[in-house]
């Protein structure tokens, strides 16, 4: 058991210096031959967009992840629009007009999605207030005589030695 734990500690320590090694690899995203090639900056921008758009016939895949024909067509539409100088919002609006909101993997923030977006925030707030009230019910009743845990461990150690 201990050996395993020791290995784990060692592993954590070993990992630290390797951190920069893998960073050296730089991002290279090349489009397949059949697809339009954009400048690296534009392709990077396109990639971010791809991941936010749903491949409408796939099982919960973005058009950036899928190699279905529909996904390829959609990628081409995005690239064409980018080349025509459209902004990300323009492109999103264009696609929503064509395919409906279903195409957006990140839903818009509007009245019909308010519940979706705000529930986590509300829960955190309400839960936070409740938790605070519970924990500060009686702040003065915490003065029992307890050893600190280092002392406790030291005591156990001494007792053990004594027993032996």
């Amino acid at each position: 058991m201990l050996k395993r734990i020791a290995t784990c500690c060692l592993f954590v320590l070993l990992l630290l210096p390797t951190a920069p090694a893998f960073v050296a690899a730089t991002a290279t995203a090349t489009a397949a031959a059949a697809e339009t090639r954009l400048s690296p900056q534009m392709e990077a921008r396109a990639k971010v967009l791809f991941l936010q758009l749903r491949c409408v016939v796939c099982q919960n895949q973005s058009i950036g992840d899928s190699d279905a024909d529909v996904a390829r067509d959609l990628r081409e539409i995005v690239r064409e629009q980018m080349l025509a100088g459209k902004s990300d919002d323009d492109i999103r609006n264009f696609l929503v007009a064509r395919y409906g909101e279903f195409i957006l993997l990140k839903p818009v923030f509007a009245w019909h999605t308010a519940v979706l977006w705000l529930t986590p925030v509300l829960l955190l707030l309400v839960g936070g207030v409740l938790a605070w009230r519970v924990t500060s019910r009686s702040p003065k009743s915490t003065s029992s005589a307890m050893l600190s845990r280092e002392d406790e461990d030291e005591l156990q150690e001494i007792l053990r030695q004594h027993r032996n």
């Binding site: 954590v12 960073v23 397949a32 031959a33 973005s62 839903p107 019909h112 915490t142 053990r160 027993r163």
Partner: protein, 663 residues
């Protein structure tokens, strides 16, 4: 004959479950110990009959008995034997039978190991488990009978090719052991509410069982993630797919339960909340079963969608969840709250943990259900996908991840935040160093990646602060401290390891998300492409036919510094029985990183389209979960927690051997 025997055994198990649903609880109300004790026998009987039934189904799969509809629909005589066996639960009926089998296993566990429990508590728990068993057995018998017969067919319709993998042998059983494992804590929570009291026996029992379920669930989810990663062929490892979310939800609330049960066991506080969490966690398991089995969500996990099954499971779900919550509202006020504490204390930290985990579970839950509900009400479709979860779930979790190393260092009742911060100085320095180092090698403007890596290092190093501190490395000599470190309670080690595992997983996630590269290219024969420090050469293209599929693959040599380091064969398979193609990625491991090759289209004259991903440190994602699973095992091996361990303190083996050597 054997098939009919399996069916009969299922009916008998159901009959026994109905008896166990009534008799023991009748005993607790009338105070009759003999009635209570019947559950010990009947639960073993149920396990026996369910095992016979499950074995019968497995047997008909093993011998490819195509006169059984279920086998005919999901198996093929030419499949490898292992896949024939695992095919038993690679379909709706069989997987429900596995679900019930594991439920019966956990019910029998209470009878076998629960002799130290107060009799009335044990009887009530066993009755609640019998309610679950009876309901799900009825569900199988009425809507999902795996033993239905038909005129024998010559050949089966084959198992879904994606499921023809070793993953099917491990992932579902692990996941179900986790899902269904929470049925014990659920049963204990209901029993406590019926009794109207929770004593120390309750907490001592609930925590190890939560640990067991949590450990299996962690392993199951992790295994499923790795399976999806290598099998689906596009390099994703987590998709925020509704079905994945369905397994992640009980994990989140189960993790919260683990922590709140800790407070309850040690400090007698948060009782009501722990009971509620126990109910919610299993409810989320049931919800997951409903979502996956009903066909409300379509995915690779949904074997068949049938509205009657959906309605039946919905009825089970609302019956148990609604009933449990109703009972909770009715009776929870009878449980005394105890144990006061200040906001900055170990208890306070665990409350914070519970707050964040509950909020994050709610986020995932609403994201999963919103599109379904929205479509039902408006007929319009919206998507809630990875970008939504990454943003919301990520933001909710960050404060908790920052807080993790503080938790174990805080004292019960009232903690000293300043003093603890000093003890975490080392971890903070390591984290800052990691941020600076990573930042120096990243492109400008990418500040998120270095911070993420800093957070991961903070978690990994900070998790061991308690071990370091309690060993007294600063106070005594190295030798004494090391010895003391070995003598620390296992729970201290388990905490450190589990938290460290989260950091390791996070490091993998951040690194892959930020530094992954993807190259899509078309290669003619003997053409090469450079990916990072690797050169990949297309050596040729081959076709072959196996027992139940045909395969086309490309041979790719991988060079590093001019030397060949691996040969990859990314391929595409076609399964004629189901008319279904699959992609077999070729994955090569270098340290903790992987090169992932997937085959795309093939042009007439042997030109292949290749998708090549470099996935830096991706293995850490799963290695972290392995560390968490080990942590779970370490914690369970702690003598104080071991199931059925007598309350009386005994000498541990180590002390014995030490005293022996002194004598």
């Amino acid at each position: 004959m054997i098939v009919e025997l399996g069916h009969l055994a299922l009916v008998l198990a159901f009959a026994l479950a109905v008896v166990q649903s009534i008799v023991p609880i009748w005993g607790t109300f009338s105070g009759d110990r003999r009635l209570m004790a019947t559950a010990d026998t009947s639960s073993l009987g149920i396990l026996f009959f369910v095992t016979v039934s499950f074995g019968a189904l497995m047997w008909s799969y093993a011998v490819s008995d195509f006169s059984v509809v279920n086998v005919w629909q999901n198996s093929h005589s030419q499949m490898p034997f292992l896949f024939k066996l695992t095919g038993t639960w690679g379909n709706h009926e069989g997987s429900m039978l596995l679900w019930v089998f594991i439920l019966a296993l956990f019910a029998a566990a209470v009878s076998l190991f629960g002799s130290a429990l107060p009799p009335s508590l044990r009887a009530n728990v066993q009755a609640v488990q019998a309610w679950l068993l009876a309901t799900f057995l009825l569900f199988i018998l009425l809507t999902s009978n795996p033993f239905a017969r038909q005129p024998a067919a010559l050949e089966g319709q084959d198992l879904n090719p994606i499921l023809q993998d070793i993953g099917l042998a491990i992932h579902p059983p692990m996941l179900y052991l986790g899902y269904v494992g929470f049925s014990i804590t659920f049963a204990f929570a209901i029993a406590a509410l019926i009794d109207g009291k929770i004593d120390s026996a309750w907490a001592r029992w609930v925590r190890p069982w939560t640990f067991i379920a949590w450990t299996f669930l962690t392993a199951g989810i992790s295994m499923g993630s790795y399976w999806a990663y290598y099998e689906l062929g596009w390099g994703g490892w987590w998709f925020w797919d509704p079905v994945e979310n369905a397994s992640f939800l009980p994990w989140l609330s189960g993790t919260a339960l683990l922590h709140s049960a800790l407070v309850m066991e040690k400090r007698d506080a948060l009782k009501i909340w722990t009971v509620l969490l126990a109910i919610l966690t299993f409810s989320l398991s049931l919800l997951g079963t409903f979502l996956v089995r009903s066909g409300v969500l379509t995915s690779v996990h949904t074997f068949a969608s049938d509205p009657t099954r959906g309605l039946f499971i919905l009825a089970i779900l609302s019956g148990f969840v609604g009933g449990a919550l109703f009972l909770f509202v009715l009776r929870s006020s009878r449980l005394e709250a105890g144990g006061l504490f200040a906001p900055v204390s170990r208890e306070g930290a665990l409350v914070f943990n519970n707050l964040i985990l509950s909020a994050s579970a709610a986020t995932v839950l609403i994201g999963t259900l919103y599109p379904v509900v929205y479509e039902a009400f408006t007929d319009a479709k919206i998507s809630v996908g990875a970008p939504f979860y990454n943003l919301t779930f990520g933001l909710v979790m960050i404060p908790l991840l920052i807080a993790v190393p503080f938790g174990p260092l805080l004292a019960w009742k009232r903690g000293d935040l300043l003093g603890i911060s000093q003890r975490l100085m080392f971890a903070l320095l390591a984290a800052i160093l990691a941020v600076i180092l990573t930042g120096a090698f990243t492109e400008k403007g990418q500040w998120l990646a270095p911070l993420g890596i800093g957070l991961a290092v903070w978690l990994m190093v900070g998790s061991f602060a308690e071990v370091f501190q309690r060993s007294g490395f600063r106070k005594t000599t190295f030798a004494i401290a090391t010895r003391r470190m070995a003598g620390l309670p296992r729970s201290v080690w388990a905490t450190a390891l589990a938290h460290c595992g989260i950091g390791v997983t996070l490091l993998g996630i951040v690194s892959v998300t930020a530094f992954e590269t993807e190259t899509i290219t078309v290669l003619k024969p003997s053409e090469s492409v450079v990916v990072g420090e690797f050169t990949l050469r297309h050596e040729g293209y081959a076709s072959r036919t196996a027992d139940n599929y045909s395969e086309r693959s490309a041979r790719i040599s991988i060079f590093k510094n001019g030397e060949i380091v691996a040969v990859g064969t990314p391929s595409k398979r076609f399964f004629p029985a189901r008319q279904m193609p699959t992609s077999e990625a070729s994955i090569h491991t270098f340290g903790f990183s992987q090169l992932y090759l997937a085959l795309g289209d093939v042009e007439g004259d042997g030109d292949v389209t290749l998708r090549i991903w470099w996935k830096p440190l991706i293995l850490l994602i799963w290695l972290g979960t392995v560390i968490m699973v080990i942590a779970g095992a370490v914690s369970l091996s702690d003598r104080r927690l071991r199931i059925g361990a007598p309350a009386r303190r005994k000498k541990t083996r180590k002390q014995k051997s030490e005293s022996a050597s002194h004598a």
